[in-house]
Structure formats: structure tokens, C-alpha cells
Symmetry: C2
């Protein structure tokens, strides 16, 4: 079944051979066939198709690639959010609240939760999503978290090294041994990536190296949470190891930026976190001006960023981080694809997966110009309409 | 046709007799009959109804009352937004671009635009909206703008004194004579309110007084745009005249705050503007702590705030203006009703119009906790489902 989308007012192709960042084509048409982009050109030249969608001057974009999320969890932390925004001390358990709720949930409950959030993301234009474990923190709970995530995406990430769980209080070394040993063995069959929260209060550089090395030994590719809450060694470690991406990058030194540029590691920025924790935003403008590749992602999780909305992240990137709307859209599509090492998504050129978003707007500019407004009109994932 | 909404996890009533600001009832039910709230109580006590909606633990709120919007216009200013965000000088016409496009549009085109935006607002939970003229700025164009607005709301506002149009360059006095004379005469049959943009570069205090007095003489109630871009006389003028509301309130002195508290004039805050113009936010916390009534509205317009999303404004109010989620929700419902002098909307107590929002969330907290996410699941306007 082929679909012709015609009378596209603005087609964002992200064609790397175009002169402009987004590879914009005005007055364009696109054909989806067999789940792929089969043809792009002018409406008058379009081949016949089984179905015709008249975009009537609206914009069409590649689906968003959300390269950082934590969707496998139970419960919520709305009250903790309320207290944080009010500046109140909040004695409750933070991430441990979510760990306890996740362990207590059935597989079906976890899968229902992931399914709801993935559906919510898709309605907002996200057509690829990475999903991490990290709220199980036992061998069995990390393995089942990843098995659940794998029902929804191929980009599953083992994040046993998220925090040291309560039963290992005072024994982080013992916990890292668990993570790199039996937990990794149980998780690896369900995971493509391995990740570590490398930050003061979580895991230090040596522990991060140990976890990433153990993952690499069983074929998992590494990524890192780093430099979120303060300066630290994580970003330079990511660059040294040539990781595909390093995420957060809120507190960077000039040396960190230099290392990212040299390594080509994608800096994944997660402004939903800074919005929801009232922290300063990362310096996207500085990274872009230095020649670093940037991705935008949601970090969707119940503690620090419970948004699933990439359009919202784009609006924040423009308002708060000095990105142009074009840079923000590119970072949320081609950037996310680069952060996941994916060559099949993130662009609308012939042969790519037909992950297509039709906006209720004439231009990609409207995603930042009309903040908070649900502007996604129609979505195709691998050529299938939602 | 009556509707019973049952198993409501959290019902925000805004009952003024409740102990808490939002009048929250847990595990509640609500009956809609003949367009009104007919009954509120416990699910076990609920009377029979023609239709039953199981909220399954979700939250129910009064519909949002958006007391400040400029929906009657043609064209957009996306490129101006892009340039502003990039810090570029932008020589194009700003508001005059919209005036020219609006004058050139047919009535049907204007009505289509308003209809699209009102529908977009309703899907996001806004069940009452005030709509201003102000992009016509001729006798005929202001009158037809209001006639179009009146098809969609009773809260129409004549804003001939928005800016001095090009044909009156250098003759603001002449323009005020037009506004208070033939333009007012043509506009008044279609308007409930009269408004002035009282700000350096727009209309000064004497001009604002003249316009409001002329409007009052023909039965229009006054409101003001004031203290948006800098300190000014507008807020104290609004208080002196006992206006229902004064809008923006970004730059306030202690005397301004004192005057608002004494007069009971509602301060309507419009954080979408500050988001989209990268200006500092108004001090909602200070106003609330001083005992001033606060409303939140979108200011939806193509220049300075093209959001139609009250949930987005609530999230900004919490992140940027120090409001609690409860205060923000109250300001966007009961506050908006107060800003429009409306006793029939803004609360879910017996006898009020059945403007009801069912969230895809268990609590009003989620509107700020999950920024950017479309959380409105179902909406009834005067008892009719969307």
C-alpha cells in the first residue's frame, strides 16, 4: 500500500546534501511505499499511489527521534514535584520511591505504562524512542524492565548503574560487581546499549569505566549520563571512549567542549529536566558554535522530567538555549538518530524508514512559535498511520 | 440528556466555601443536566443519568476561562519570531503586518481563523474565551472583527486603541477621536468590553481615560493592557476606575500592588508573552502574597504569544512565576471568570454552567508536572461534549 503526501508547503528532509540544515523543499510531495520513503519531488511529478493525502500547504517533518527516556516505571512523583517547585524540603524517597513502586509492579503493569507513554509520544510526533531500565536495580527487575522495553523499541538501554539501591547502601563496589556480573548477564539479551549515571552521588569515573567495559565485552554499546548536576569527568570519558552520545551536558568546561568536538560524540541535551527542576539550561549555542553535534531528547521519567513532548523540548531549546528553530528541529530528528547511531531514521530522503509527521502548521517554525499547542496532525511510523 | 461522571479521582470544584483553594473532592461524582452542574457528591450516592462516564480515577476540573486573547487576525509572524529569538534586527512591520493582513482578509477568512483557534483551545480545555478586536483599526474593520468574534463568544472586547495605525502616524489625537467617536459607535453593538493598550509607544494615561470613558458612556465595561513593557500609569488607573481586570502587570511598583489589592481589580498574567519575547516574567508570587487576585490567560495572538494552551501557561506559572500548581489552576479557571466578571463559569458547583474537563491524569498537579503533554482527555461545554 503506497501513500502520496502532496501539496506539502514545507518538507523538512534533513538531506545531508542540501545547502540548508533542514534540507527544506517548498511545494513538495513524498511517496511512502513498503514502509520506506520511495520518492520525493514536486507535486506535478509525483507518481501514482494507492492513497493520496493532501497536506494543503502544511509542513511535513521526519518523525522525532527521542534518544533518551526512562519509561519503565510504576507510580508517579507529582507530590515531590509540587514540593520542589514550592521550595519545600521533601523528605520522601526521590528515585527510591520509583524503584520500590517498579519492583512491586507486575510485568503487565509495567508494559501498560510503557505502552501508554509510547502512544502519547507517537501522537506528539515521536516515531523512535530509546528506553532505559534503571528502576529495577535487581538482577530480575532490570532484566524484566528491559524485556518490557524491548516490546516497544530496539533501542533498549541497560542502566543498572542508575543509582546504588538501598540494599547496597555503603557498598557501591559490591553493587558495581553485581551490575557488571550477574545483572549484566541477565540484561544483555534484551539490551542494545549500556549506560551509567556518572555524577557525584551516583557513580564515579572508575565505576563508569568498569560498567562500560563490561558492557562492551558482551556487545553492548556505551552511552553516559554526565555533567548534569555539576562539572565532572563523564563528558571527557565519553569522548575518550568514542561513545556515540553523552547526555545532559549542563556543566561543561572548555576542555569538555573541545573533547566532544574532537571525538564527534553527540551531546544530548534534555531541557525538560532543567524546566522541571528549575536548574540552569545547558549552553546549546556554545556547543553548536564550537562544532559539537547536538541532539534534543525528552528524558521522560517520573522524577526530573515527566514530559513526553519533543515539541515542548524544541520550544525550550529556542527560548532558553539559544538554538534556532531549525537547529532545534534538526537536533530532535537527525540529531536523535545520530545519538542512537541510526542511519535508517531522522531524515526524509529516499530509502529511509517512512517516519513522517504532518503538522497542523505551515512551517517547522511553529513548533517554537506556538509553544504548548499540540500541532501534530498525522503521524506515520514505518509507513503505517497511527 | 443528563451525564454522570463517576469515579473521579480528584474533582476540582473551586467551591469558594471549601477550606482549600481548589475545593478538591477525592473519589467524587458529578451530574450534568440541562447544560448545568446538577449534582456533586460521592459515587455511591449519585442519581441515575442518561449516560455514565467512568473517569477511572482521573481528575476533573472546571474548563479553563481564557480572559485575554486576540483571535481575529489573518496571516502569521513566524519569521519575525524566528528573527527575535535569534537576536536579529527585524525591519518588518510587527503588528502593522497583522493589521494589513487582517484588513485584506474576507469576513469568512477571519471567521475561519477564529473558529480554528477556538476549536484548538477547546481541545486543550478552554471552555470560555474573551476575544478582542484590534487588528482592524478602521471603523469598518473593527466592527466586522467584533461581529466575527461575537459568533464565538459573548466576551467580545473592542480594542480600537491597540496601536495608532499607519494612516494616523503623527496624529494620535485624531486617532483617539476616531476610536471614541464613529469607531466606538460601530463597534459597541458587538462588544461587551472596551480595552486600551496603555503603554509608552501606544496610548498614554489621558488617552486611556478618554477611551474608557467613551466606552462606559455606551455601556461597555473597561479593561486595560498595562505595565507590560515597563512601569506606567495603567495599573493605578485601572484600580482607580475599579476595572474588573488589568492585564500583563509585568512591571509593578509597590504602589501598583497596593492599588490592586485595595480595588480588587484582577491582575491577569500572560506568561506566554514573556516566554515568546524572552522578557522577564511578572511576579505572581508577590501579587498573591500581597492579596491581589490573579488570573492566567494565553494572550493568544500572532505577534507576542501565539500559544492557545492554558496548560502551557499553567506550567510556566509554576516554573517561572512562583505559583503553586493549585494557584495556577485556580487562576486559569476561577481567576479567569473573575477577570471577566462571570459568575456562571469557573467552578464546578451546583448551578454553574457545565464546562468540564476530564484529564488524562490523576491530579491537577500533572498540568505542571507534565509540561507540554496534551493531557485533556474529554471536554464538555455547557454540558455538550466536544
Amino acid at each position: 500500500m503506497s501513500v502520496l503526501i502532496t501539496n506539502i508547503g514545507e518538507l523538512v528532509t534533513n538531506d545531508p546534501e542540501a545547502d540548508d540544515l533542514l534540507g527544506v523543499r517548498s511545494d513538495a510531495a513524498l511517496v511512502i511505499d513498503d514502509g520506506r520513503v520511495a520518492w520525493v519531488g514536486a507535486p506535478a511529478d509525483a507518481p501514482a499511489a494507492d492513497e493520496v493525502v493532501d497536506a494543503d500547504g502544511r509542513a511535513v517533518l521526519p518523525g522525532f527521534v527521542d534518544s533518551h527516556s526512562h519509561l519503565v516505571f510504576a507510580g508517579d512523583r507529582a507530590e515531590e514535584f509540587r514540593a520542589r517547585m514550592a521550595g519545600e524540603r521533601y523528605a520522601a524517597g526521590g528515585i527510591r520511591t520509583t524503584v520500590a513502586a517498579t519492583r512491586a509492579a507486575t510485568d503487565a503493569e509495567l508494559a501498560d505504562g510503557v505502552g501508554r507513554l509510547v502512544a502519547e509520544m507517537r501522537r506528539q510526533g515521536t516515531t523512535s524512542v530509546e528506553i532505559k531500565s534503571g528502576y529495577g536495580l535487581t538482577v530480575a527487575d532490570e532484566a524484566r524492565s528491559l524485556a518490557v522495553a524491548a516490546r516497544f523499541t530496539d533501542d533498549t538501554t541497560f542502566l543498572g548503574a542508575h543509582v546504588v539501591p538501598p540494599e547496597y547502601d555503603g557498598d557501591p563496589t559490591g553493587y558495581v560487581e553485581l551490575v557488571t556480573g550477574p545483572m549484566l548477564a541477565a540484561a544483555a539479551p534484551h539490551a542494545r546499549w549500556i549506560d551509567v549515571f556518572c555524577e557525584t552521588g551516583a557513580f564515579d569515573e572508575d565505576q563508569a569505566r568498569a560498567v562500560l567495559a563490561a558492557g562492551a565485552a558482551v556487545g553492548l554499546r556505551g552511552r553516559l549520563h554526565a555533567n548534569q548536576l555539576g562539572p565532572g569527568p563523564g563528558v571527557q570519558l565519553a569522548a575518550e571512549l568514542g561513545l556515540t552520545a553523552v547526555d545532559h551536558c549542563t556543566y561543561l568546561t572548555d576542555q569538555d567542549v573541545h573533547a566532544l568536538r574532537e571525538s564527534g560524540t553527540v551531546a544530548t541535551l534534555l531541557p525538560g529536566v532543567e524546566f522541571s527542576t528549575r536548574q540552569p539550561y545547558p549552553d546549546a549555542r556554545g556547543l553548536l558554535d564550537a562544532g559539537v553535534r547536538v541532539a534534543l531528547a525528552s528524558d521522560c521519567n517520573p522524577g526530573s522530567s515527566y514530559t513526553s513532548s519533543i515539541p515542548f523540548c524544541i520550544a525550550l531549546a529556542v527560548r532558553e538555549m539559544g538554538m534556532t528553530p531549525a537547529e532545534a528541529v534538526h537536533a530532535a530528528t537527525a540529531g536523535g538518530a545520530a545519538a542512537l547511531g541510526r542511519a535508517d531514521v531522522g531524515a526524509l530522503v529516499q530509502g529511509r524508514r517512512a517516519d513522517v509527521v504532518l503538522l497542523e502548521a505551515p512551517s517547522h517554525l511553529h513548533l517554537a512559535y506556538r509553544p504548548g499547542v499540540p500541532l501534530v496532525r498525522q503521524v506515520w511510523v514505518a509507513g503505517e498511520p497511527l
